[in-house]
């Protein structure tokens, strides 16, 4: 049994206390270890992804206990892809945090960052629903610390809302888990997949309730309308690198929906029939619309980007809610794109903020470094709004193509296209106010503006790196989509996953009774 699968969880888990205990007062050492850890994570993730790329499903039994009793960690194509995405995103976010010196504005940034990575990696890799809850809590509790990093009244206040909303989400998650356990007697996803099909059609009330509750919990994480209210103010008030890292957290919700609802509560199952098309699809379309309208309506630049995140999550959820192999492929392609684009936009917000007194969308005098920032914003806005030539366009095209034959195609096409237009208008408005109208404002004599220095080179490198990844995601769209087609093929054929998890021998694996 190879131990590499658990390494993405163990490595940050060991690094974080080391940073707290040994390198507490040495920001330099913290940075070195943090960056080295993330680079090692990328290497490990690349290895795991290569291992999983031929369809191998690798299982890791914690404590060598066999599946339904022990906790298992499973690496298949989807998990390793998300781990890779997280690791790459984390590297650029970390570089930005170091370049902009955000990590020195409060304490324990790097330790919390590593704990957050541990939680995200664990959530992507685990094969057990209760363990998923635990890793959700790990990533949340680290995110509470990161969210209020550097303090400030507005940030603390947004932090309270964020924490309370997520505590409520966690409580709902526990209710869902309790209901699932009461109905099926297991919380292992593979075991659950087998047992749910055996429930009599007449006795599905409990499991139906559990499926809906679980969807609700993941929808909170993914900020799907009408459960998105926590997102705008917390993402806008969070420190920029943290908000950029949070771009992957909404994707954890999307990942969990894909994982659980392709394997356990599949759309063709009678228990959950109609759940996706009746509930998830309209909610996804509404959050797409609200997100894009929010881009146009926002009066603060940071809120604008937060609404862009809601919109792009809506887009991902539209693709997911169709639940066909092609639509899941499109959803995965768009997930990668939306994570990178949202992170880049949040970092650009911080670049803009560094030269201004606030982030209201009004013209203020030109600041040093504005040309480069505006160029980066232009690229990121094109990507996020879904204009050619960047990957947002290809992602939307894939979603529209996947929706072409479905019953709700007219709705999806109309809302996606109209909302894209609104987003384009919103982004152009913001960009022209922030960067072009600045030329028309003359610097008044009594307002000294020389204090603003251009952002550090490393900050630009980080944002540029994210945008380069977006370009690569566009240029290599062919290989990327064929890989994601393989991912969704594996998702829609869950039997190898289930048999790998349940039939691998371990302690206690002697079958006591049949199902």
């Amino acid at each position: 049994m190879t131990h590499w699968i658990v390494a993405p969880i163990i490595l940050p888990a060991l690094l974080a206390p080391f940073i707290v205990l040994a390198a507490r007062y040495h920001i330099g050492i913290q940075r070195v270890f943090s960056v080295a850890g993330v680079v090692a994570l990328i290497a490990i993730a690349a290895g795991l992804m290569w291992q999983a790329s031929d369809g191998t499903i690798t299982l890791y039994q914690l404590g060598d206990w066999a599946a339904p009793f022990g906790i298992v960690i499973v690496a298949d194509r989807l998990s390793t892809m998300m781990v890779m995405l997280t690791a790459v995103l984390a590297l650029f976010v970390l570089l930005y945090a170091i370049g902009s010196e955000w990590d020195t504005r409060g304490r324990h940034f790097h330790a919390l960052f590593q704990f957050q990575l541990m939680g995200i990696m664990g959530a992507f890799l685990t094969g057990d629903l209760f363990n998923l809850f635990v890793f959700f809590e790990v990533l949340l509790i680290a995110s509470y610390g990161l969210m209020i990093h550097a303090g400030g009244n507005a940030r603390l206040r947004a932090g309270v809302q964020y924490v309370l909303f997520n505590l409520l989400g966690s409580t709902l998650f526990l209710f869902a888990l309790g209901a699932i356990y009461a109905e099926t007697g297991t919380l292992n996803m593979a075991d659950l997949a087998r047992r749910v099909t055996l429930i009599d059609a007449g006795e599905t009330v409990g499991i139906r309730l559990a499926a809906v509750l679980l969807l609700l919990v993941f929808a909170i994480k993914a900020a799907v309308l009408p459960l998105h209210f926590w997102l705008p103010s917390s993402y806008a008030e969070a420190p920029a690198p943290v908000a950029a890292l949070f771009a992957i957290m909404t994707k954890v919700g999307a990942y969990a929906i894909i994982r659980v609802y392709t394997m356990v509560f599949t759309p063709d199952l009678e228990v959950t029939s109609g759940l996706h098309t009746t509930w998830l699809l309209p909610a996804a379309l509404a959050s797409l619309a609200i997100g894009m309208i929010g881009i146009l309506a926002a009066r603060h630049f940071d809120r604008l980007v937060a609404f862009a995140v809601i919109g792009s999550m809506g887009m991902v959820m539209v693709a997911i809610s169709l639940f066909t192999p092609t639509s899941i492929t499109a959803a995965l392609y768009y997930t990668v794109h939306s994570t990178l684009a949202a992170a880049a936009l949040f970092l650009i917000v911080d670049l803009v903020r560094s030269g201004r007194s606030d982030l209201r969308l009004i013209a203020q005098p030109v600041v040093p470094g504005a040309v480069l920032t505006s160029a980066l914003f232009f690229a990121a806005a094109i990507a996020m709004a879904g204009l050619p030539p960047l990957s947002g366009f290809l992602g939307k095209l894939l979603v529209l193509d996947a929706a072409f034959d479905t019953a709700s195609a007219a709705w999806i096409w109309a809302i996606v296209l109209i909302s894209s237009l609104i987003a384009v208008v919103g982004f152009s408005r913001a960009g022209s106010i922030l960067f072009w109208k600045a030329k028309t404002v003359t610097v008044s004599e009594e307002e000294p503006n020389e204090t603003a220095s251009p952002p550090a080179t490393l900050s630009y490198v980080a944002v540029g790196g994210l945008l380069t990844l977006l370009v690569a995601h566009t240029v290599f769209a062919g290989p990327a989509t064929s890989y994601m087609t393989a991912v969704s093929d594996q998702l829609f054929n869950p039997e190898p996953y289930i048999s790998t998890v349940l039939d691998t021998p371990g302690k206690l694996s002697t079958p006591k009774e049949g199902y």
């Binding site: 209020i148 400030g152 009244n153 505590l167 526990l174 356990y181 009461a182 705008p232 926002a298 604008l304």
Partner: protein, 115 residues
């Protein structure tokens, strides 16, 4: 016993939700605590209610309590305890900083919101 446990969970949940919809942080945190109590009892009951059964499976023992929900509920208790401590600290920080313990967005800042 089923009625007692079920109504206890129901009343705790109802009280928790009512308190959680309040405007100030203190009742909201109390509401969250009540909800976590409710969910803990619920998790505990998810392994079926039985009295006096040993939670260990042995040869020759037919009547036993499901040990797994007990492990789950211990984890849930620890996590919710830690989370409550965190939210109390953050809420206290926000209150001391702003001299105000409302949980909604402040009016002056939210004037520019899109929502």
């Amino acid at each position: 016993m089923e009625l007692l446990v079920a109504s206890a969970i129901g009343i705790l949940t109802a009280g928790g939700i009512y308190l959680m919809l309040r405007l100030r942080t203190f009742p909201v945190i109390l509401g969250i605590s009540l909800l976590t109590y409710a969910v803990n009892v619920f998790l505990f009951a998810s392994g079926r209610l039985s009295i006096g059964g040993p939670p260990i499976l042995r040869d020759g023992v037919d009547f036993y309590a499901d040990p797994l929900p007990q492990a789950l509920v211990l984890t849930a208790i620890v996590i919710s305890f830690g989370m409550t401590a965190v939210v109390v600290m953050i809420a206290l920080g926000a209150y001391l900083g702003a001299d105000d313990d409302r949980v909604d967005d402040p009016v002056d800042a939210s004037a520019g919101d899109a929502t």
